[in-house]
Amino acid sequence: MATPRRHRVLPGFGLSLGLTISYLSLIVLIPLAAVFAKSAELDPAQFWHVVTTPRVVASYRLSFGAALLAAFINVVFGLPLAWALVRYDFPGKRIVDALVDLPFALPTAVAGIALTAVYAGNGWLGQYLEPLGITVAYTPLGVLVALIFIGVPFVVRTVQPVLEDLDIEFEEAAASLGATRTQTIRRVVLPMLTPALLTGFALAFARAVGEYGSVIFIAGNLPMVSEITPLIIITKLEQYDYAGATAVAAVMLVVSFVLLLVINVLQAWMMRSNDKAHA
C-alpha cells in the first residue's frame, strides 16, 4: 500500500482490520464470488439462453415491476405517516411509531402467512375486496401487497429524522414572505425532503427485488403470472439445475450491486443537503 506512513495513535489497527477483512471475505465475499465463478462455467450463448427464457423474463418483469410500484406506494403513504409521527399529536402515536419497524422484526415467513390470512377471499380485508372484483391473494396483486409491507419502514425511517431536524426557520421565513402553507410545503419543505424520499425509495426497492419469504405464501407462484425471480432460483436448485440457478442469481446480483451504488450516491447527496439545511 502506498499510504503515507503516519504515526497511528490508537492501537489495534492491524488486528481489527485484519479480522474485519478476513471475516467478511470468508462469510460474504468468497461465497458470493462462487456465484460468478459458477455462472462463468456456462458459455455466453447458454448463459444468455437461460437468463432470457420467457418464464425467467416474466419473473423479472414481476419482481422489478412490483418492487418499483411497491416502493413508489411506500413513498406516497410513507411521507404522510412520517409527517404525522413528527409533526402531529394523535392517540396511540407511540405505538404506531414503534410498530413501523415491524417488518424489520417480524420474520418474513410469518408476514407472508399473515398477509395471506388478511387478504384471502375469506380474510378480514379479502372478504370485502373480493365482491368488488379485487382478488389480492394468489395474484400479482398479492406480490405487491407483500412488497409494500416489507418496504414500509425504509421510507418512514429515512424521512422521519430529516423531517425532525428540519429547521423551522425556513418555514417561518416562507410564511413571513407571504407564502401560503401549501406553497411553503411544496416549494420549501418537499425539496428538502427529496433526497431522503429518494433514498427511502431506493432502499425499499432494493429490499423488495430480492424478497422471498413474505411473497411466496401470498403470490400463488403461477409460472409466467405470479412467479418472482428468487423463486425461479429455488425451483432450478430443486431440479439440480445449479448452472441455471446460478445464471439467474448472477443477473440479480449485478442488479443488486448497481442498486447499492445508486443508494450510496443518494445517501451522500442526502447528507450534503442536510448539512446545507443546517448551515
Binding site: 402531529y88 410498530l99 450510496n264
Partner: protein, 296 residues
C-alpha cells in the same frame, strides 16, 4: 435508523403544532393522520393481529399442543442455536470493523463500508445459494467434504452459516456511525494517561457505545431467529433436524395445518414485539443521554 437520530419524536411535535408558520389547518391535519393511520392499519396492524387470531382459532388447548409438538420444539432449539452462534460472531466482527473504520484512517474505507452492507442488498435466496455452490455436493469443497464425511449444506452448519451471512451488517452498521461521531479524543486521552489498548476499549469506548451496541444486537438477533429465504435454501427441510422455526411454519402451512403454523408463527411474532419494545426503550435511554436538557 441509528440510535443517534431516532429520538422520541412525540416530545418534540409541540414546536410544530404551536408555531402558526409550521402548522396546517385542522382538516388537513386530520386528513394526513387519517391517511397515515389507514395505511398503517391495512399493511402493518391487521397482519400482526391476524397472526394471533389465527393461532388461537382452535382454542388454547390446540395452541399449546402445537407449540409443544416435538418438531416445533426441535425447530425452536435449532433457531436458538443458530442465533446463539451468529449473534456473538457478528458482534465481534461489528466491534472490530467499527474500531478499524471509526478510529483509524486508511485508504478504501468507503469501499469497506459498502462491502459490509452487501448482505442487505443481496437476496436471501442468493445468500443460501452461494453456500450450496461452495459446500454442496457439486460445489468447490463438496468432494473433499464428502470424502471426510463432513456435511455442511442440508445440515446444521449450513443453516448457521446462512444465518451469519444475512446478519453480518447489523451490529457493524450501528457502531460505525456512532463511533465515528464520537471521535477519538477520549481514547487518545486514555492512552496518554497510561491505559493499555484493551483497557481503553473496555473502559472508554464500550461504555460510550453501549446503547448502539445493544440496539444492533437486538436487531441482529431478530433477523437471525427469523431468517427464512437463505436458511430455506441450505436446510433440506429434514423434520426435527434441519428445520428452524420459520421453516417449520412453512411446512405446517403447506400441510394445511393452519392453526399450528400460526401458533409457531405467533411465537416469532411475540419475539418481534419484544424486539420492538426493547428497541424503543433503548432509543428513549439513548435519546435521554444525548439530550439531557430536553428529557421529559
Amino acid at each position: 435508523m441509528s440510535t443517534a437520530s431516532s429520538t422520541a419524536p412525540w416530545n418534540r411535535s409541540a414546536r410544530f403544532t404551536s408555531n402558526p408558520a409550521a402548522r396546517e389547518p385542522g382538516a388537513i391535519r386530520w386528513l394526513v393522520i387519517g391517511v397515515a393511520l389507514t395505511f398503517f392499519a391495512v399493511f402493518l396492524l391487521l397482519p400482526l393481529l391476524a397472526v394471533f387470531a389465527e393461532a388461537l382459532r382452535k382454542g388454547w388447548a390446540a395452541y399449546l399442543a402445537a407449540i409443544s409438538a416435538p418438531d416445533a420444539l426441535s425447530a425452536m432449539r435449532l433457531t436458538l442455536l443458530a442465533a446463539a452462534v451468529a449473534v456473538p460472531l457478528n458482534l465481534v466482527f461489528g466491534i472490530a470493523a467499527a474500531w478499524a473504520i471509526a478510529k483509524h484512517d486508511f485508504r478504501g474505507k468507503n469501499v469497506l463500508i459498502t462491502l459490509i452492507d452487501l448482505p442487505f442488498s443481496v437476496s436471501p435466496v442468493i445468500a443460501g445459494l452461494c453456500y450450496v455452490l461452495v459446500f454442496g455436493a457439486q460445489g468447490w469443497f463438496g468432494p473433499w467434504l464428502a470424502a471426510h464425511g463432513i456435511k455442511i449444506v442440508f445440515a446444521v452448519p449450513g443453516i448457521i452459516l446462512a444465518t451469519i451471512f444475512v446478519t453480518v451488517p447489523f451490529i457493524a452498521r450501528e457502531l460505525i456511525p456512532l463511533m465515528q461521531a464520537q471521535g477519538r479524543d477520549e481514547e487518545e486521552a486514555a492512552l496518554v494517561l497510561g491505559a493499555s489498548g484493551w483497557q481503553t476499549f473496555a473502559r472508554v469506548t464500550l461504555p460510550n457505545v453501549k446503547w448502539g451496541l445493544l440496539y444492533g444486537v437486538i436487531l441482529c438477533n431478530a433477523r437471525a431467529m427469523g431468517e427464512f429465504g437463505a436458511v430455506s435454501v441450505v436446510s433440506g427441510h429434514i423434520r426435527g433436524q434441519t428445520n428452524t422455526m420459520p421453516l417449520q411454519v412453512e411446512i405446517l402451512y403447506n400441510e394445511y395445518s393452519f392453526a399450528a403454523a400460526f401458533a409457531v408463527a405467533s411465537l416469532l411474532a411475540l419475539l418481534a414485539l419484544v424486539t420492538l419494545v426493547v428497541k424503543t426503550i433503548i432509543e428513549w435511554r439513548a435519546g435521554a443521554e444525548l439530550r439531557p436538557d430536553e428529557a421529559p
